[in-house]
Symmetry: C2
Subunit: 235 residues, 2 copies
DNA sequence: ACCTGAACACCGTTCAAGT
DNA sequence: ACCTGAACACCGTTCAAGT
């Protein structure tokens, strides 16, 4: 046996909150939320589970930190010149696609982003970072939105993102089931082994239902939402 | 001590899948998802946890059964005369409000409805019962929608419901935290103890953000969605 | 200062055994 | 047929103890 095999402690740079959160995200991305336990996370970091409690205030705090790490990343790419008349539209387009990118990059974490309670009741997932919300509201109000219209736009925008992205993420993150029960595949059966005999319309529309139009539908629904928001602006 | 106190077995009608699901819903409604364990559920039903496995194929199957119990309830109140020209609009209005009623009645279960993987990849929460989807698609196609338009309407409608109701439910179900840390309330501090010094726009808009407009916003966004869907119909 | 060992109070689940 | 006891392999978390 070699040295590294004997010690099995490949040299870990030293624990830190950042390293813990990063490793936790890796676990959930690769194996799903139920694979994340304090004990397993500890052992992956070459440490006993109890050591994590120096940096993280329990499992709930860890989940919170993971969500914050992803939602704080939505800040300030030097996004768009807010000077122009329609700068807010470019900003919201950019922000929507940023959130979508996060949802696609971490489909197993997005349900957490969508369902955990933010720090204040008026914060709404997935735009639950104060920095991001400040950006959002200040861009809109500086471009002629009234206070009430800006707040309403924030609520509508959040709902839009959750509605479209949670389902997309759910479909992306779904097939991480450990490949059991894929054994005896009925050589017929249209994609799923569901019995559709009593559901004629579903059976007829199954091809249309199975089509993935999420990209186009996201874009067109987003444009419609921006139009709708534009109408509420009092300039 | 009396007889009932001595036995503590108040007479339980006998176990059944239905009774288990019903009690599980009661637990989650009252105390939240994390309060639901097989062992505790068993003891609430006057039985050892292992007995539950006769009726339920493990915890995951139980959660699934809870979701199905609620989403199958969306079926066929003798809803609306589908004969008329705009019958589909009345049907979708009815269906949207039914789902909203479920979300309000079980805010702690709704995240489960929204995030669990349905039986087929083309099924989307919260309309994940085959009966309901068959209703949905057959009503629309019988009223002049093309197959593709009906499928697109199903997807848009599902996204709308998730986006609006998950946030509403989250706010309703949130305050079930066991009333700790409510102790030393800063007599000032506007509703939340968040530090908003560096967020001038948020601070200025906090009253508008804190307003609960979910009712009105649900209604007006729903009407807008129905208008949008109407435009996709090829009659 | 940072990590660990041992312990506590829980979990979900299986399976042979009871009635 | 229906329920249980005992056991297994896990959890999260605390706390005194080690270095």
């Amino acid at each position: 046996m070699t040295d590294t095999a004997a010690t099995d402690q490949v040299f870990r740079p030293r624990l830190s909150r950042e390293r813990i959160v990063h490793e936790a995200l890796r676990v959930v991305d690769d194996e799903g939320l139920q694979a994340l336990s304090m004990r397993r996370l500890g052992s992956l970091l070459g440490v006993e589970a109890m050591s994590l409690y120096r940096y993280v205030d329990g499992r709930e705090d860890l989940l919170e930190a993971m969500v914050e790490h992803l939602t704080d990343g939505l800040r300030l790419a030097p996004h768009t010149p807010v000077g122009t008349e329609d700068g807010w539209q470019a900003y919201l387009q950019w922000l929507a696609h940023e959130v979508r990118r996060v949802a696609h990059a971490h489909p197993q974490v997005f349900p957490l982003i969508a369902t955990r309670h933010p720090a204040a009741p008026w914060l709404r997932p997935p735009l639950r970072s104060l920095d991001v919300v400040e950006d959002f509201l200040s861009v809109l109000t500086r471009q002629g939105f009234g206070d009430e219209a800006a707040a309403a736009a924030y609520r509508a925008f959040s709902s839009f993102l959750i509605g479209h992205l949670l389902l997309e993420a759910s479909q992306l993150g779904g097939s991480v089931v450990p490949d059991e029960a894929l054994d005896e595949g009925d050589p017929n059966a249209p994609s799923s082994a569901l019995e559709l005999a009593d559901y004629p319309t579903i059976r007829r529309l199954e091809p249309e239902l199975s089509q993935d139009r999420s990209g186009e539908e996201f874009e067109s629904a987003l444009e419609e939402l921006l139009d709708r928001i534009a109408r509420t602006r009092r300039s």
